[in-house]
Symmetry: C2
Subunit: 458 residues, 2 copies
Amino acid sequence: MKGRIRPDFFFSPGSVAVVGASPVKGKISNVILESLKDSGFKGAVYPVNPRHDRINGLECVPSLNDIRGGVDIAVFAVPASSTPGLIREAKGKLRGAVIISGGFAEAGGAGEALERELKELAGPVRIIGPNCMGIYDTVSKVDTFFIPAERIKRPGPGGLSIISQSGSFAVTAMDELAAEGIGVARVISYGNKADVNEADCLDMLERDAHTTAVAVYIESIDDGRRFVKSASAVSAKKPVMAIKVGKTEASAVAARLHTGAMAGRYEFYKAAFKKAGVIELNGYEDFLSACKAFGAGLAHARGNRVMIITDGGGMGVAIADECAKAGLTAPPLDAMLEKSLRRIFPPYFAAGNPIDLTGSATDETFASSLEMTMSGDGYDMAIVAALWGPPALTDKLPEMLAKKAAVFKKPVLICSPGGEYTRARVKLFSRHGLPVFPAPEGAVRAAGMLAKYARRTR
Amino acid sequence: MKGRIRPDFFFSPGSVAVVGASPVKGKISNVILESLKDSGFKGAVYPVNPRHDRINGLECVPSLNDIRGGVDIAVFAVPASSTPGLIREAKGKLRGAVIISGGFAEAGGAGEALERELKELAGPVRIIGPNCMGIYDTVSKVDTFFIPAERIKRPGPGGLSIISQSGSFAVTAMDELAAEGIGVARVISYGNKADVNEADCLDMLERDAHTTAVAVYIESIDDGRRFVKSASAVSAKKPVMAIKVGKTEASAVAARLHTGAMAGRYEFYKAAFKKAGVIELNGYEDFLSACKAFGAGLAHARGNRVMIITDGGGMGVAIADECAKAGLTAPPLDAMLEKSLRRIFPPYFAAGNPIDLTGSATDETFASSLEMTMSGDGYDMAIVAALWGPPALTDKLPEMLAKKAAVFKKPVLICSPGGEYTRARVKLFSRHGLPVFPAPEGAVRAAGMLAKYARRTR
């Protein structure tokens, strides 16, 4: 890595150029120009195209060399074959390149040679990509994700950062998080990683004060030792979760076609994650649960003891089953607590763990159950499975629960399965900082990760 | 079971009485009267209450005995303590009772004695419940589920029937299915099962021509041998899936508090399911996936070979990983097929399994990929992971895929993770009979169940 400048400037560029900028709405380069405007990026933006004077109201420059004083980041959305040449020409004028275009190593043949060219250019210029979405950053306001916001919503500011070899994985997670009010700090889709790789990204995020948790999607790691070193440094400071895809021979072939990745044996990844203190995620649902659990800015858990509060008995039992699978315990109420609860409960409420408030549940019985069980030392976190059938439940419930949670500073996870009425209530919970999971499994997976992180930091 | 009339009349009552009917909107008995009107039940409906002349525009009778010619089903939403007496009084006038009220065995003490009374009454009167939601039936139009349709939507007609010891589980699944356009035939929430139990329900569904698939939620089985006999008879005719909750000691305690169930060892249930040809479901997500897979009226699969088509490379690799876990294979394209696809694809599409249509995907490339791979003998079903980012994709995609699927008569499952724009597209798929899963795991779980059923019927 000697002689290479640190890629941290990607998080705070003063200027961004879009090479091959097109005035045609919907074209990748045009969407990027739109995104840079919509996201509120305050630096200079340069469309680069010798055939136009102005694009989207911005003055065009014929080439990168025509930008006086150079440019921090140039985004390339031009054919693979012309990209290395353009970077070479801009030598000395350019700190970083984000190469969106595919057609490199993942395409084989001539593409492999082009990617080798990129690797040789890297050093004085740092390169993200090729075959990637680039950067979405709520701190610097850079947004090179080339899908219109109408189709893929951008999350607001938050502490979670995502680094991903797959653009679609990152962008889909972003869209889901945005829909549920969970914010992010930095998202980097690094694709074929001709230069900047997962370890570089981890180093950047270790140094980044805006990032409080990191989620990683990996198809392949080039240098296992360096990954463990970088991941360990981050995980000593903040939670790091990672999913490795392409676990089987068949799916590893798919990964190679996807980002040119040589996946290698899954067992090595598993061992590397463990050594580096990285919480392993299994599948997309796990990835999303992790993003929600650590992105919602919950208090950290101190252990694995879960209190389950519900108004749907069967759902409570199902959650208890899942807890056992996820290495969580759901200890019974102690005698004192049970007595206090029975005093305020009608006889047909179940005062156990789960607490079952039945179809007669009210906002108040939910809130007081949460307060009474969580304010003592018996439980480390709560899963509240609020089914919206009971007629007495109102839209005030989410705020009431959030207020209680703020007092005892322990994670409260919401499980809220159901159809239209229920799905419309998800926003109420997330507006008050409580992450919502559409099924018991998701909430329990998230609780399991919080408990794993508690074990690491204890 | 001798001397007991078959409970099948619960599926085709000519008349329904609501005992303890209240004119107060929102009260359980009033919601049930509303539901019976909204659902379009064509038989006679009798509110029973000596203190009123009319309720909701219907003539009230003072007691069940005042109904000339008797009544097929009486729904009881009165305190537990008065229920056995009311049933006793109506002797000879009543074929079936649905007892909504709790406060029986699950409450312990006096409740246990009341439940014994119910058991003694059962025989000339068949009883569903107590502590249950009763029946939701799109054939007979009976709806005793006492949650207003504003909060819990009712699914339309379909072939899937659900029997559940837990009301909340059944009602939540119904609400989710309704939101996704999947219909049901009969839903029975049987609660504490003082009389009609899971085996009776299975027998009824075996004989029911409207039911094409059965999903079961179980906390406890009273008579294992009878369950295996009944379940085997159904599974010989149509797919039967079951979830057993209360698997651990702790969660079994919760189940007892919930429906008075003595759960017993999980291993026995596992063995019973296997013996009876029942596909075991693990958790709520599995339950929902099964309901969607078998409720959508898909063609039956003939094997476990899955074709994966996507426009998000990373999502495709993640699906391939999940397939391996679920006992599915994703065989590579044969040389001929690969060549034909390459002929119509641009060079940067991945012609493998998964097929990756990238961000340049169109409705047409999705549809022709599906057609070309599924019309031959190489694959038994397809998972199409349509991410909605690519700008060329339009709202015509679902219909185009459904039309192709109708030709080759193999299951096509949609995986469509994402936020607002994506979630709004779910309805388009379900309107055309294609079940949609919000994450790779759900789609693969569903595919796995279709393959398991294929193995059974081969």
